[in-house]
Symmetry: C2
Subunit: 160 residues, 2 copies
Amino acid sequence: MVKELDEKNDALPDHVGWRLWQASRAWQAEFAAAMRAAGHVWFSEARAGLLGHIPRNGTRQSALIERAATSKQAVQQLLDGLEAEGVLERLPDPRDGRGKLVRYTRKGLDALRDGDRIKLQIERGYIDRIGEQRFAALMDALRSLDAGQADASGEAPGSK
Amino acid sequence: MVKELDEKNDALPDHVGWRLWQASRAWQAEFAAAMRAAGHVWFSEARAGLLGHIPRNGTRQSALIERAATSKQAVQQLLDGLEAEGVLERLPDPRDGRGKLVRYTRKGLDALRDGDRIKLQIERGYIDRIGEQRFAALMDALRSLDAGQADASGEAPGSK
DNA sequence: TCCATATGGTCAAGATACTTGACGATATTC
DNA sequence: GAATATCGTCAAGTATCTTGACCATATGGA
């Protein structure tokens, strides 16, 4: 592999968005690999994104749709898949004949447990890499960022 | 919309991975919306991810494949699309009969220019939200994280 | 020089994730 | 009750990415 001279590393991006994207991708790849290695072969990033919005005690499907920033149909399809995998189950909502409740199965709760363990492992790795202080500053900044936008931002698509 | 009592906010995730993912998604949504509003309707996140690996003076397709963490076929398909949109063009590599060079068209360079402007706008918004210091700490942590892993990490798939 | 092997790129087919549009069933509001 | 809104589903299409197979050109060594 010859290093061409006229292709010297002419500035790859170094702005917040790029850095966030790269960091997020790296984290997800590491996490997904560990989850699959732990036997949760059904795991995918899209599914993880949805599960992140489902608290341990379950939720109503409609509430889930509000939280996730996608269309209700996308949420539904992910739920279909997770239900077929036996990670979740859907029950009729006793308080609303139209609604459904989503909750974890035993298998789903096991996955959450493994996920928590893996998260801690990855976090330890990060602290080793950049130090406790930088890591704390990172979390602080990310939390502030989140808090600062909660209101504005965009509409979920497909909600016609 | 009635607030059910037994559904009170039972801990949504608050770990690095989740925060990074949310922050990354928010940034990308904001950026993509602004790009499309600026007339670059061909813009998508996947395409942006690829363009981020193409320096302004172009690159060889094979070098691009090394940088992007996906299969050569995925890269090719994205390039096909971007070429069809007139954002990029591919030329035969004069130094390697097999190779191709990828470079921006006028349209592509215009988009890069608008992109730079939008990035700065978003960055200013972030600084307004969380303050200069937190923002600097965020960038510092993200850069350290990136530097600290450059070596390890995973193989690109599909490279059989 | 010629052959084996590696590399750069393409074609094709399938899986996943997501989007839009249309539609029933139940709630809510007046 | 009737009009309207909400909840969920079905169906079809698009974008992205994956794997596998395949040529064409380079490269390295006998």
